[in-house]
Symmetry: D2
Subunit: 358 residues, 4 copies
C-alpha cells in the first residue's frame, strides 16, 4: 500500500482543506521532494476564491523548499538528501517556448510548444507543494541546490515572489539613475521595490494603503512611500518628479486603479511593467498614452522559473544584497494551514508572508 501524506487540497470555491493523499510516484525525469518549508501566495487566494480555475482535488502551492527524497531514473547531477528549491514555474527546458527563453509559457506536450502560463505547473496543472511531499517535473531543469548556511526562511521567497518582483524591475529594463514607481507593497510589490533597488534605480517611489507595508518598503529600499489612502498617488508622484513622471512604473496589485495610475505617471517613452493578476478587462485611457503616440510600453510578466533563475535568486540572498526574511511575518504548521489561509486571505494582523512547515 502506497505511503500517505497530508496536503492542502482545493475542493471548490471557498474551500481549501487539509486532506490525505498518496505520496506521489516519480517518473524518469521527476524528483520527489520532501517539503521542509513552503508558503501561501496571493494567487492561491485567487484560486481559493474561485477566481482562477484549477481542478477540484488538486494540491495547492508552488513555493517549495525541501530535501530530495527520490530521483527519477533518468535524473543525473543530484543526490538524495540534498536541500533544494524549485521555482513556482517549472519549465521543461525542451519545449519550443522554453528553448526560446519563454520558460513561463512552456508548452511541452502541446501541439506548438507554447501554452499560456504553461510553465506554471505546481498547484495549477499538477499537484503542488503545500504538502509533505511534492513531485517536481523535469527535475534537472528545476532543482536548485540551497547554498550551505542559508535557512529555509531565508530562501523561501526565491521560488515566486522574489523572482516575480525582480522580473517586474527587469521587464522595465531599469537603468542606473532611473526613477521608478511601484504600485502596491504586498509581497510582490515589495520585491519589485527590492528589484528596482538592485538594478540601480535612484529614485524609488512606493505606494500602498497600509502603513506597515509602506514602512517595509522604506526598509527594503524605497526613497519615498506614498499612502494612497491619504493622498492621490498620481499627483504626488508628479510632484515628486517635478512634473516629469517616472521612467518605469511597476503595477503589483492587479486592479484597474493601480494599472491606470501607473500609466498616468509615466514619462513619454516610459514603461509600465505589470505584475498583477487581473480579474477584469483593463482600460487604457487615451491621454496618458498620448493617443498611441507616446512611445510607451506595457509589459506583463509571469514569474521566471527554472534552476538557473533560482540560482540567481539564491545568489542575491547569499550575498546579502537583499534580506527578505522580514517578509515572513507568521508561521504555521501544515496541520494548521487552513488557519494560515484564513489569516493570509484576509490580510489580518499585518501579515506579509506565512511560513508553513510540515
Amino acid at each position: 500500500m502506497a505511503a500517505r501524506m497530508k496536503a492542502a487540497v482545493f475542493v471548490g470555491p471557498g474551500r481549501i482543506v487539509l486532506d490525505e493523499k498518496p505520496v506521489p510516484d516519480v517518473g524518469p525525469l521527476d524528483a520527489l521532494v520532501r517539503i521542509t518549508t513552503t508558503t501561501i501566495c496571493g494567487t492561491d487566494i485567487h484560486i481559493l476564491k474561485g477566481e482562477y480555475p484549477v481542478a477540484s482535488g488538486l494540491t495547492i502551492g508552488h513555493e517549495p523548499v525541501g530535501v530530495i527524497e527520490k530521483l527519477g531514473s533518468a535524473v543525473k547531477g543530484y543526490r538524495e538528501g540534498q536541500r533544494v528549491i524549485a521555482g513556482a514555474i517549472t519549465p521543461s527546458g525542451y519545449s519550443y517556448a522554453s528553448l526560446a527563453g519563454d520558460h513561463a509559457q512552456d508548452g511541452a506536450g502541446t501541439a506548438h510548444g507554447w501554452k499560456p502560463v504553461g510553465g506554471w505547473k505546481l498547484g495549477h496543472i499538477i499537484d503542488g507543494c503545500q504538502a509533505e511531499f511534492v513531485r517536481v517535473p523535469d527535475a534537472m531543469a528545476n532543482l536548485a541546490p540551497i547554498p550551505d548556511g542559508l535557512t529555509d526562511e531565508e530562501v523561501l521567497m526565491c521560488p515566486d515572489i522574489m523572482s516575480t518582483g525582480l522580473a517586474g524591475a527587469e521587464s522595465g529594463a531599469i537603468k542606473v539613475g532611473d526613477t521608478v514607481a511601484v504600485f502596491a507593497q504586498g509581497p510582490i510589490g515589495l520585491c519589485a521595490t527590492v528589484g528596482a533597488r538592485l538594478m540601480g534605480a535612484t529614485t524609488i517611489i512606493a505606494t500602498d494603503m497600509l502603513p506597515e507595508r509602506l514602512d517595509m518598503a522604506r526598509r527594503l529600499g524605497a526613497d519615498h512611500a506614498i499612502d494612497s489612502a491619504k493622498v492621490d498617488p498620481v499627483a504626488e508622484i508628479m510632484r515628486l518628479t517635478d512634473g516629469r513622471g517616472v521612467d518605469v512604473a511597476i503595477e503589483a496589485l492587479g486592479l484597474q486603479a493601480t494599472f491606470e495610475a501607473a500609466l498616468r505617471v509615466l514619462r513619454p517613452g516610459g514603461t509600465l511593467s505589470s505584475l498583477g493578476v487581473y480579474s477584469k478587462d483593463l482600460t487604457v485611457p487615451l491621454g496618458p498614452i498620448a493617443a498611441g503616440l507616446g512611445d510607451h510600453r506595457i509589459i506583463t510578466t509571469l514569474c521566471p522559473g527554472g534552476k538557473e533563475r533560482m540560482r540567481r535568486m539564491l545568489n542575491v540572498i547569499n550575498s546579502g544584497r537583499a534580506d527578505l526574511k522580514p517578509l515572513v511575518t507568521h508561521r504555521f504548521k501544515l496541520d494548521d494551514i487552513e488557519a494560515a489561509y484564513d489569516l493570509f486571505g484576509h490580510q489580518r494582523d499585518g501579515v506579509l508572508k506565512v511560513a508553513i512547515t510540515p
Copy 2:
C-alpha cells in the same frame, strides 16, 4: 516687404484651405527648404476633422522633400541648392529625451526635456510643409541629403510612413523566422508589412477590407492577405498558424477592433506593436493577456525622425530593397491641395498617397 508664399492652413475643424503667408524667417539653427514635393498624412485628416488639436492658422504638413533655400548662421555642413528631406519628427538633438534616443518625445525648451509627441513639430507645433517653403528647425540634426538619382516620389515616403511602418516592425523586435500579422493596409500598414519583410519575418499576414490594399500588401511582401470584410481575421490567423498565434502583431489603424484583434492572435510572450492614432480609450480584454500572466508586450511607437533615421530610410530606397513609389496613386498641384484633401480624406478612387507639388 517680406516675400509671400502659398500654404495649406488649418482654419478650424473641417477646414484646411490654401492661403498666402510670408515666407518663414530663418533663425541661426534653422534652414529654409523650398518644397518640391510633399504629401498628406492620415494624421492630417485627424487634424482636419478636429480630432487632433493644432492651432488655427497653422500650416499643415510634415513630409518635406525639397531644396535648401537658405541656411541659418550657425548651420554648417550643408549648402544652398542641396536636395534634402527631413523627417516628420524633427528632434533637437540636445534635449534630455533626444540625447537618450527618444527623439520623438523631444522636450527641448521644456522644464524636464521630455514632452509627449514633442518631436513632431512640423504641421503640429510650428508651420508645416504643405507650402512653397518650410522652416526646418535644428537643421543640422534633421536635413538628410537625397542620394543622386533618386526622384522626389521615390523618397516621398521616407519622412513619415516608411519610418513609422518600419518602426512598427522594429518595436516588435521581429526576428528572422517570425510570424507577423499586420492589421490594416493603409500607407502605414503597408510600410509595416514592408518592414516585417525587411527584418526577416517568414510568414507575414496582412488584413484589410479593401481588395486593392490587400493586393498591394501581397505585392510589397505579405504571404497571406485576409479580407476582414469577409472573414474573421482572428479566426483566420489562428487557422493559418495552426492555433499557435503570431510572434508579433502590428496595429496600423487606430481602432479598438484592430487593437483587440491584434491581442487575440498573439502567442504567449508575443508583442503587439501599435502604430495607430487612437481617438478613444482602449480596452484590453482579460483572456488574450492571460489575466496579466502571458508575458505580453504592448508597445506604441511614434515615427522616428532625425537625419540619421532618414539616412537609413534613403539607404533602403537607394538599394532597391523596397520600392514605395507604387504608394503614390495620385498627383496634385499645391494649388489644388483642397481637392487632394477631399480625395484622400474620403479614401476615394483607391487612393493610397498623393504627391503634392508646388
Copy 3:
C-alpha cells in the same frame, strides 16, 4: 547480435575512414535517427587535419537529415517514421547554460552547467551522423520535423551553416539600413551574406579569392563582391563606403588576415562578428580599435542549435526567403565519403557543400 552500420570514423590526424560499427543504443531521452542525407563541414576538415581534437574511433558529422527510427522511453511528441533534422548543436535544455539561453555552451553533467563548446556533441563528444544511423541526445529538445514538401537537400544547410551564418548577422545586431562586410564566401560566409540580407542590411560587401564564390555571393544577396586576390579589400571597402567604414563586419574564415581586415573596416562603434574557427592566437591592432576608445565590439558566435532554432531555419527555407540548394555542388554515396572528404578538403572543382546519402 547487434545490428551493424557504416560510419565515417576519425582514426587519427589525416585519417577519416568508412568503417562498420554497431547501430547505437537508445537511452530514455534519446532518439535513433536513420540518416537520409548529411554533409561534411569545414570543422570536420579541421578534425581530419588533427587541428581540432576528437577521440580516435569517433564517428564524425553533425548535420543530420533523416527519419526517426526509434524513440527513447521518455520521449513524447514524436512518432517513428517522422522526417526530422537536428542542429549541429544539440543542447540538453536543462543545464544552467541552456536555461540561460546559451545553448551552444551547454554544460549538462558538468559541475557548473557551463562547458566551452559543450553544446556541440555530435561528431565531437559523441558519435556523429556521417553514418547510417545517429543517436540524437535529448531528443525532445532537438528533433525538428521537416515541413511537408521540402527535400533533404533543401534543408541540408539548416543544422549548421545556415544557423551559423545567420547567427553571424544576428550577433552583429544588424539593423535595417546597415552596411555590412562579410569576409570570405565559403559556405558559412555565404550564409552570413544571406543572413545580412534577411536582416535588412542595405549595403552588403562580400570578399573572397575565388570568382565562383563571389558569383554565388552576388546571387545570394551581396551588393558588392571584392576579389581580395586582386584588390586590397580594406581599401576597397573604405572606398565603397566613402571612408565611413561598415556598421558590421563578419569574419567567416578563421584567419588573422580576415579578422584584422574586418577590424580595419569598422566604423567607430561598429561590431566585428566572428564566426571563424581559429588555429592561432589573434592580434588586435591598436589603431583600428582607437587604442580601446572606439566603442567597438568583437563577438564570437558558435552555431545556435535546438529544435526552436531549427524551426526558424526551416521557416526561412519553407517561405522561400532564402534558397540554399545551390550550395550543394556535389553528391556522394556514404560508401564514397572518403572521396568526398578528399574533394571537399582540397576545395577542388568549385565545391561548396557535398550531399552524402547512405
Copy 4:
C-alpha cells in the same frame, strides 16, 4: 584687450605647464564656464608622456565643475551663475553618430558624421578645463545643472571616471545575480566596481597590486579583493568561482596582462568589457576564446557623455547610492597643478584623484 586666465597647457612630451591664455570667446552654441573644481585623468598622463597625441599649446583637462559665466546667443534653457558640470565627452547631439546614440564617436563636421573618439573634445581637440575658464561646445547638449546641496567634490567624478566605470558595467550587460571581476582598482576600476554593484552583481571580485586600492574596492562594494602582486588573479578567481569563471570581466588598466587575464576568467558566453587605454597591439589567446567558438564578447567603451548621461550620474550621487568623495585623496590649487601632475603621474602617496581649484 581680452581678459587673460591661467591654464595647464601641453607643450610637448613630458611637459604640461601652467601658462596664461586669453579667456575663450563664445560662439552662438557655446557656453563659457568658470571652473570651480577640476581634476587630472589617467588619460592626461598618457598625453603628458606623449603616448596620446594632442596639439602643442592645447589646454588639458576634461572634467569640469563650475559656474556658467556666459551663454552663446543661441543657447536657451540656462542662466548665468548656474552651477553645472559637463561630461568629458561633449557630443554635438546633431551628428549622425550622436543621433544614433554613439555620442562618444560624434563626428559633427566630418564627412560622414562619425569620428573615432570624436566626442572627446575638451583637452583633446579643443582647449580643456584645467584652467580658470573653459568654453563648452554645444552647450544645450552638455551642461547639466548640479542639484542643490551637492558640493563640487561630490560631483567631481561624474564627468569622466564615474561615467566610464559605470559604462564598463553597462557594456557588460551585468544582470542581477552575476559574478563580475574588475581588473585594476585605479579610479576607473573602482568606479567599475561601483557600477557592478549598482547593477546588481552579487559576487564582485576586484584585483590590484596596491593594498590601499584593494581596501577602497572593498569599501565601495567588492566582495573579494585580490592582491595580484601576491597571488595569480586568474587562478584565484577560478578558485573563488569553483572553476566556473565569471559572467563579466572588466578591464580597467590598459595592459596586455590584465586584458588577457580578463579573458582567461570568463565563462563560456561571457563578456570582457574593456575600459583601458592601450598603448600596444593586443593578443587574444586561442584557448580562452575556445578557438572562436565560445560565444565570447569583447566590448570596448569610451566614457559616455552629454547632459542626459550627466543627469544620471548626478542622480546616483544625489540619492546616496554611491559616495565617490573618498576618491579625492589630494587637493591642489590650479597654481600648483604641475605638482599635482607630478604626484598623480607617479601615483605617489596613495593618490587616487586630485581636486584642482582655480
